[in-house]
Symmetry: C2
Subunit: 257 residues, 2 copies
């Protein structure tokens, strides 16, 4: 397929590379940030365009990989076209592209950082098209870059995104919090890296409910309180600790009947 | 070393196995839960004792691996002895064993579940002894089961434990929350397993602050609010989502100056 990429962030970068590696042809890259567009276009052997109305008419597909709040605006700037317009947001509905006759969503459920390679074939990808032929087209496209392709309508996709925020973005924020507390006390973040790795590996095999350990699930209220007290200098972490422990204790009580 | 193990939970089980695998001799196992004691003793080729006063006088070391709130009580039940008494809690101080002349702490910083094997040699282990000769003894003992041994006094150990609760126990609770939301909406938890794995793997190489992705760090308030709304049926998850997003947005603002 001949593809134009609008955006140059984490998703645009990894998706662009995955498409190129699967022998699709990235014609052009556009980004609000021209520097980033240049860098990505270089990596994808594509040209750079400065304005959205320069989009190549010979492209089959135009990917909009920008911040959610900018998708509608970018879609509105594209000329009326028979090309397939795709966004990659977990939370925006397909309706946001309704100006265009052929539209769809390709949602890769993974956390992407530019500085880290990802095995895209292992990334679960969800698709939704404006009609059945588009669904087929999206499915074929998605299967060319991933071995884990499923249909998800906009409601299901939003649920997937919310779950992903908990599992990934919020977990990472907990790592950040732990790091801050450790380093602030002269302890290396490296000490808890094996713990982080094991915690994530465990639930590939165990149900997370069964994998839960720690003072709160043991309803060891004395420890919970002593930790909350130890966090006096970290009001944000303290508030998080209290709320999460309260919810885990509640879960423990429900589990034990 | 000849060792007695008081306790039969996750830590007792994994520590017992690690000690046995490093050619220490587990003489006896005691547990409040006699069934569990029998099972663990069987696995460790040890005898079972029903009362703490049956502890073998020929043992060099007595490990107290019980719930934090029970440590003092168990330590009090042990006869005055020259044996080395060790607890394994992250949060309890060494002072809790002060009745005994030779005492110490061995704190393995990892999450243990009985149903999952752990490569104990890779587990960071922290020690603290009641005096310098005991410190040396604990260091040697710890190094026999782990390649990552450090001294940590009771204050530092507590910080390590608090950080571990964030990085492991709370992360796992986020996985549980994600699972509940997914399965409640007919979606498989399997869909986010690659995401969980990648999120944890990433921070082995990237600083978690740099690895942070998602709507909150992008300060995409529209998405954050739409997710909070989508969680209306899950008040606990909703409260967590709001608090974590608020803290991540704050971090984003500080990061961007």
């Amino acid at each position: 397929m001949k593809i134009v990429l609008l955006g140059s962030g984490n998703v645009a970068t990894h998706l662009g590379k995955a498409l190129k590696n699967s022998n699709h042809h990235i014609l052009q890259v556009w980004s609000r940030n021209h520097e980033n567009a240049l860098a990505l276009a270089d990596e994808l052997s594509a040209s750079v365009i400065k304005c959205i109305d320069q989009v190549d008419k010979h492209a089959d597909i135009i990917f909009i990989c920008v911040k959610d709040e900018a998708i509608a605006e970018i879609a509105g700037q594209l000329p009326k076209t028979n090309q397939l317009i795709i966004h990659t947001s977990g939370t925006q509905t397909i309706e946001i592209l309704r100006l265009h006759q052929f539209s769809g969503v390709i949602y890769p459920l993974q956390t992407f950082s530019k500085s880290r390679e990802v095995l895209f074939k292992e990334v679960p990808v969800f698709f939704e098209g404006s009609d059945e032929p588009v669904n087929q087209q999206l499915k074929t496209l998605a299967q060319s870059i991933s071995n884990h392709v499923n249909f998800a309508d906009s409601d299901k996709r939003k649920i997937l995104h919310v779950a992903a925020v908990f599992a990934a973005n919020f977990s990472n924020f907990l790592y950040t919090t732990a790091q801050q507390i450790l380093e602030d006390n002269g302890l290396s973040f490296d000490f808890i890296k094996p713990l982080i790795a094991e915690t994530a590996t465990k639930i590939q095999f165990l149900n997370p409910l069964d994998a839960q350990t720690g003072p709160a699930i043991r309803q060891d209220i004395e420890i919970v309180n002593s930790h909350i007290q130890a966090l006096i200098k970290y009001p944000g972490a303290q508030e998080l600790y209290a709320l999460m422990s309260q919810q885990i204790v509640k879960m423990a009580k429900e589990k034990n009947g």
